[in-house]
């Protein structure tokens, strides 16, 4: 298979920059994804701080109403479309081929295309600021507002379509990679749980994202060619937008969380020194979330009165079941483990606890009467941030601390990691817990200012928390810079991992593996370390027959 000639980095004819620009290596593309998404995480974070500065006090005039609408819209758009969704492609790109023992993704050039669609999309989306204002209808872009707002909206639509294409072809690539490129012995039910989560995420992306593309095309036609899709005067229907939008965007919240669950499920067994409890139950729970994910979209639309509330309420409660299964998987994995608290483990534990809160306050909202009371209040903002920040972002940092030695051959400083974790989890809860109370008290989301003096204390607490999250990035940046100032000193397997990415050097060579261990279970490295396997049956789980 070593027939692909690999150009030497930094040769006279091929400078390193050109090498990065033209690379089709899944590891380099993963790193490019990582830099791109972390950049937009910073941009989205700065916008979030602007939002919180505006809301810190009542009757604030820090930014104008118009500017505020643009800021919160672009905060959400950057965080969701340019950070969370593509950063899973960063981890997926780097880790999935390594974990299944492949040399690369199935389609390396399509992989490069997936990445290179992102920078133009990011530029387009933010270029609205130079053309009379960016998109300002919220990331949900509801009509009629989105039909009538300025040019920034058109740029936003095209950017999101580009991102959708990137994510759709990326998903097809991941699926073929995992279906067809697994090393001998790596059966589907020996694939690491992270891969399974990327697999289900990819199915959701493949089938849901095109529906968003269709919705965005309709919105674009309405705005530019006099279409009537979302205009009742011409026989259209504004609720149609909500249906097609959430048909994508509800599966999309699982797209945004499942790979994070996968990362946590890789970290917990390593630092609790136990196998993941109930591997198969976990895989089936992931598939269950993927399947049910397509049948709950209208719980965002209860108050429209245009959806079958009992059905969507019931299905939303149902999706709590596989999610609950996963929580118990994680807890049982920790039970009586020899736990150590390195930074990856801290962030993983942060994920489990914060995501649990996000799951519970989400299940409240599934009850139709409760939903009517809290719809479009800050309670919903609290919920989304507990699952997407308390969930996904904690998993991102867990994954960064865990795989940084593999990515770069260097380790992030443990003390700085602990400092970041403490600042982040305190700041996070200070920022978002008060939003539950504000929401129950009736504070609507997406308002530029308020004049209720009662809301000031909680909003100020929230703002202080948001800035604390900002401060928590300083130890992280110091750790990254410090790591890069040191030589590459990391062994193949610094954490005593279970999965194949730890069987190669840190960072891996271009062809990934010089040799692969035999694979008899979902923990080939554990087996190798303890001399298990080679006789077919895994002694602990009984798996791996034949």
């Amino acid at each position: 298979m070593a027939t692909i000639a690999v150009p030497r980095t930094g040769s006279a004819f091929r400078p390193a920059v050109l090498d990065w620009l033209t690379t089709v290596d899944h590891k380099k593309l993963g790193i490019l994804y990582l830099y791109f998404t972390m950049f937009f995480f910073a941009v989205g974070g700065i916008l979030a701080l602007l939002v919180r500065t505006q809301l810190a006090v009542a009757d604030s005039t820090f930014v104008s109403n118009d500017a505020y609408n643009q800021i919160f819209t672009m905060h959400a758009s950057a965080m969701l479309f340019l950070f969370i969704i593509p950063i899973w492609a960063a981890f997926g790109n780097y880790i999935v081929p390594l974990q299944i023992g492949a040399v690369d993704m199935a389609f390396p050039r399509i992989n490069a295309l997936s990445f290179w669609l992102l920078p133009p999309a990011g530029i387009l989306m933010f270029s609205g600021f130079f053309f009379g204002g960016s998109a300002d209808a919220g990331w949900t872009a509801y009509s009629p507002l989105a039909r009538n707002t300025g040019t920034g909206m058109d740029l936003w639509i095209i950017a999101v379509i580009l991102l959708g294409i990137s994510s759709t072809i990326g998903a097809a690539n991941f699926l073929v990679t995992m279906f067809r490129m697994r090393a001998p012995g790596m059966t589907m039910f020996r694939m690491p749980v992270f891969c399974w989560n990327v697999l289900v995420t990819s199915i959701l992306q493949l089938l849901a994202t095109p529906v968003l593309a269709a919705a965005l095309c309709m919105l674009y036609i309405d705005r530019n060619f006099g279409g009537s899709f979302f205009d009742p005067n011409g026989g259209g229907n504004v609720i149609l937008w909500q249906n097609v939008f959430w048909f994508y965007s509800h599966p999309a919240v699982y797209i945004m969380i499942l790979p994070g669950m996968g990362i946590v499920s890789e970290i917990l067994p390593v630092f609790a020194r136990k196998p993941l409890f109930g591997y198969k139950a976990f895989v089936f729970a992931t598939l269950g979330i993927g399947g049910l994910g397509f049948s709950v979209w209208a719980h965002h639309m209860f108050t429209t009165g245009a959806v079958l509330k009992p059905f969507f309420g019931f299905m939303t409660f149902m999706i709590g079941v596989p999610t609950g299964v996963k929580i118990f998987n994680w807890l049982a994995t920790l039970w009586r483990g020899s736990i150590t608290f390195e930074p990856p483990m801290l962030f993983a534990l942060g994920f489990v606890s914060m995501f649990l809160i996000g799951g519970i306050n989400g299940t409240y909202s599934a009850a139709v009467p409760v939903d009517f009371a809290i719809h479009d209040t800050y309670f919903v903002v609290a919920h989304i941030h507990y699952v997407l920040f308390g969930g996904s972002v904690f998993a991102v940092f867990g994954g960064l601390y865990y795989w940084f030695p593999k990515f770069f051959g260097r380790r992030l400083n443990d003390k700085l990691g602990v400092t970041q974790f403490v600042l982040m989890i305190v700041g996070f809860n200070l920022a978002f817990f008060p939003m539950h109370l504000l929401g129950l008290d009736g504070m609507p989301r997406r308002i530029a200012t308020y004049n209720e003096a009662d809301w000031e204390a909680l909003n100020m607490a929230s703002t202080i928390g948001a800035f604390l999250i900002g401060v928590s990035m300083i130890p992280f940046l110091i750790a990254v810079v410090a790591a890069f100032m040191r030589p590459k000193d990391q062994p193949d397997d610094p954490w005593e991992g279970n999965t194949l990415e730890w069987a190669t050097t840190s960072p891996p060579p271009v062809h990934n593996f010089d040799s692969l261990p035999e694979i008899h279970s979902e923990r080939p490295l554990f087996d190798q370390r303890h001399g298990i396997g080679g006789h077919g049956v895994h002694p602990a789980t009984g798996e791996g027959r034949g």
Binding site: A172, F179, R180, A213, G226, F229
Partner: protein, 205 residues
């Protein structure tokens, strides 16, 4: 490292074909979204075509909400025929006959281009535009996106034709031809669904 190479020699679908089928699945969902919009608009309207939605200005400008069916019917027959011709081309290359493949590709391309020309003529003579009620919007959006896919299919066939002319493809190696015909059949099936929906199911009072 021979182990990694092993995956390349598996039986059944190739990686490329599996990836292509997944891509077409995503296309199905795209059209699914557009069809959903059409059916919701149709169910919402008091009648279909929703003539009562036309404004005074639109009536004065001579806007009428009805479709011509003769030309699209002929176009439908030609498009179905082109699915047959490209499939014959695939069968020919399976037997290693590259010259026959090129001829059948050429015929399919011509049929595809005739379909596009007829669609453009149809657009030019229809008495309504995309901004004339949801009827016009859905009609031009659905048939327009389908037309764009026909154009994409024609380009795909042209690429395959050029590659055949350059001496590529033989009995054992013609993945791109299979993918191209698969895509063309998909475009054909979408049109049959569209034709049924727009012309055969047609009006409702």
């Amino acid at each position: 490292m021979a182990a990694h190479g092993a995956v390349q020699h598996r039986q059944g679908l190739s990686n490329g074909m599996l990836g292509f089928i997944l891509f077409v699945a995503s296309e199905v969902m795209f059209f699914g979204g557009l069809f959903a919009a059409y059916f919701i608009a149709r169910a919402d309207a008091p009648s279909w075509p929703p003539t009562e939605l036309l404004t005074e200005e639109q009536l004065a400008a001579g806007v009428e909400l009805h479709l011509e069916w003769v030309l699209p019917t002929i176009a439908t027959v030609l498009l179905v025929l082109s699915s047959v011709t490209i499939q014959i081309g695939v069968m020919q290359i399976q037997r290693g006959n590259r010259t026959a493949l090129m001829w059948w590709l050429f015929v399919s391309i011509v049929l595809g281009l005739i379909f596009l020309a007829m669609q453009m003529y149809d657009y030019a003579q229809l008495p309504f535009r995309a901004d004339d009620t949801i009827f016009g919007t859905t009609f031009y959006t659905l048939t327009g996106f389908h037309g764009a896919h026909v154009a994409g299919g024609v380009i795909f066939m042209l690429v395959v034709l050029v590659r055949s002319a350059g001496g590529q493809f033989d009995a054992g190696n013609h993945e791109a031809v299979e993918a191209c015909s698969f895509y063309w059949h998909f475009v054909d099936v979408v049109w049959l669904a569209l034709f049924t929906t727009l012309y055969i199911v047609g009006p409702r009072s």
